[in-house]
């Protein structure tokens, strides 16, 4: 499925009658990792939800590999190859780890391919193989995050979107997960859009980033340029 170029233009988003995003423009280049940064309530999560058309009303142009997706429903967008790991992870706590992964592949019909991908997931996250028949709700936060990411990857997506994957996790676990993400991006060219509070880590992983504030993009650029930017340094890196 590889390509994975996402283009968001003039995106407005609202929950019921409360407007949250105003005219947001974002690009995720094919094979690139893009980070969305900003304080709480800036609207980062809403951007992801807008792309997935989950829980939010939108207006604007969202194009994936040349095809407009802003008019489609959540499941149709997922079937086109957009895998969204939501905040809170959305793990099926009452299903086993393996069943969680199989749900990720539920729209696929290639049995052999699914089995091969399961194997790949267990190689990437050995802990999951250990717990494959355990109910996912019993796993720790870090392990559930791995389940969520693996489930998303089972879709064989063009674009992987993650909402605060580091939230509530120990630093070592976070490093492990980010390492896996970087590896996947290098090996398969999967495009990644990641929302992160941890700016340092995000800028290490991503090639480029946008900074949002109260629903608008106020800064955008490569990771190096943002790291050097004085506003970013002051506000988020504490320098």
């Amino acid at each position: 499925m590889t390509p994975g170029h996402l283009s968001v233009r003039d995106l407005h988003a609202a929950y019921h009658t409360v407007p949250v995003l105003k005219s947001v423009d974002i690009d995720v280049p094919q094979g690139g990792i893009t980070a969305l940064l900003g304080a709480n309530g800036a609207g980062k999560t809403t951007v992801l939800r807008a792309v997935s058309k989950a829980l939010v009303h939108i207006r604007g142009r969202i194009v994936l590999d040349g095809k407009r997706i802003d008019g489609l429903g959540t499941d149709a967008i997922a079937r086109l190859g957009v895998a969204h790991v939501p905040d809170g992870r959305g793990t099926f706590t009452q299903l086993t780890v393996e069943e969680n992964l199989l749900v990720g592949a539920i729209t696929r019909t290639d049995r052999a391919g699914i089995r091969a991908d399961l194997r790949r997931m267990y190689d990437l996250f050995p802990k999951l193989e250990e717990y494959r028949h355990k109910m996912a709700g019993f796993l720790s936060g870090g392990e559930q995050q791995m389940v969520a990411i693996a489930r998303a990857l089972m879709l064989r997506p063009r674009l992987l979107m993650l909402d605060e994957p580091s939230f509530g996790l120990a630093p070592m676990v976070v490093r492990q997960i980010f390492g896996v993400l970087a590896q996947i991006n290098r090996d398969t060219g999967l495009s990644i859009l990641i929302v992160e509070q941890n700016v340092r880590l995000a800028l290490e992983l991503a090639h480029q980033a946008y900074v949002l504030e109260t629903g608008r993009v106020i800064l955008g650029g490569t990771s190096e340029s943002l790291r050097a930017d004085s506003r970013v340094r002051a506000a988020y890196l504490g320098i």
Partner: protein, 346 residues
């Protein structure tokens, strides 16, 4: 389901100045209602006296169930059983001569509360549909139990108990029996509603709210979930028991067939119409419940069921729509300039 609580953002409730003023109103409204009711006691008699008293009884019963559902989030399909227990408690104590009618009602309340607590304790472990099922079972089992030959001496078995009507204790008030009963009903309704009002607006109400919305979090901050859920059951059962006891005083008759599962379902319909907290709603619901069967039966014997069901569906689908419109109107009235540029297209 977990994803609903983590991902849904509710629109913030903007209190308008009108809402603040409304806080003072309920007391005035309530006082006016009580005065009106007292006037009705003297002004009405016969059928209308009876009808008004029935409406009050139903309102009480609905309020009892509403308390359980609205404040503590537990749905019961079997409150008809507590109605029946209250009714029989009053009936038995009066027919056996153990208590005067004036003590029979509090006795019924006490009994139902105790039973409600005992039922509520184990029922705490049941969530949503399971609890509904358990209470459904209670409502179905009770009439059978009441008909059992072993208890016939007290319950009157299948044919039930007939009682002497309650008459006014002293001549001076010049009230007929039915007016006197209406007065008793009005008095008890007012008292119970007042007590519930204090309860719900106090620490108990707060505890119930927390365990309705986030039971796990509630227990984490020290709210004894079991105890409070059972307490909600107890209070709710007591109120419904009061309604049952008053009903006995009103009709001078109790029999097992008066309390079919339909009664429990009607109470549920009542709460659907009334909403989770509206006091006025309970009276609206009571009027519905009291008059709809009469109207339906006049139109068509057969159609009673269909009409009832349709009313329930209307209550479920239409009433929330109305409430949403009302809220949107309130928000537009009280909100700031930002409200104007909302509502994007989907």
């Amino acid at each position: 389901m977990s994803d609903k609580t983590t991902m849904r953002l509710d629109a913030p409730a903007l209190p308008s100045p009108r809402a603040a003023a409304a806080f003072q109103r309920p007391h005035a409204v309530a006082a006016v209602c009580v005065l009106l009711a007292l006037w009705a006691v003297f002004a009405l008699h016969g059928y209308w006296s009876f009808k008004l008293a029935s409406v009050l009884v139903l309102a009480l019963a609905v309020r009892g169930l509403q308390l359980l559902i609205g404040t503590s989030g537990q749905v019961s399909l079997g409150h008809g059983a507590f109605f029946a227990i209250g009714a029989y408690a009053a009936g038995i104590t009066m027919s056996q001569g153990w208590l005067s009618p004036y003590l029979a009602i509090p006795a019924a309340i006490a009994l139902c509360s105790a039973l409600g607590f005992l039922f509520g304790l184990p029922a705490v472990r049941l969530a949503g549909p399971y609890l509904a099922l358990g209470t459904f079972a209670l409502a179905i089992a009770l009439p059978q139990l009441l008909k059992h030959p072993a208890l016939e001496d007290w319950t009157g078995g299948v044919s039930g108990l007939s009682l002497d009507p309650i008459t006014a204790p002293f001549e001076g008030l010049a009230l007929h029996a039915d007016q006197w009963v209406l007065l008793i009903t009005v008095a008890w309704t007012a008292v119970v509603y007042l007590v519930l009002h204090r309860l719900v607006n106090g620490p108990a109400g707060l505890a119930w709210l927390t365990l309705r919305d986030h039971p796990t979090a509630a227990s984490a901050v020290g709210v004894d979930v079991r105890k409070w859920k059972a307490a909600a059951f107890a209070v709710s059962a007591g109120v419904v028991g009061a309604a049952g006891a008053l009903n006995t005083c009103l009709t001078n008759f109790v029999s097992p067939d008066n309390f079919p599962i339909f009664l429990s379902l009607s109470l549920l319909v009542g709460v659907s119409i009334a909403g989770p907290k509206s006091i006025a709603g309970t009276f609206v619901a009571a009027v519905f419940l009291s008059f709809t069967p009469d109207v339906a039966e006049k139109l068509s014997q057969e159609l009673t069921g269909v009409l009832y069901g349709l009313v329930m569906l209307v209550a479920v689908f239409v009433v929330p729509m109305l409430r949403r419109w009302r809220r949107r109107l309130a928000m537009r009235g009280g909100a700031g300039p930002d409200a104007a540029q909302s509502t994007p297209s989907k």
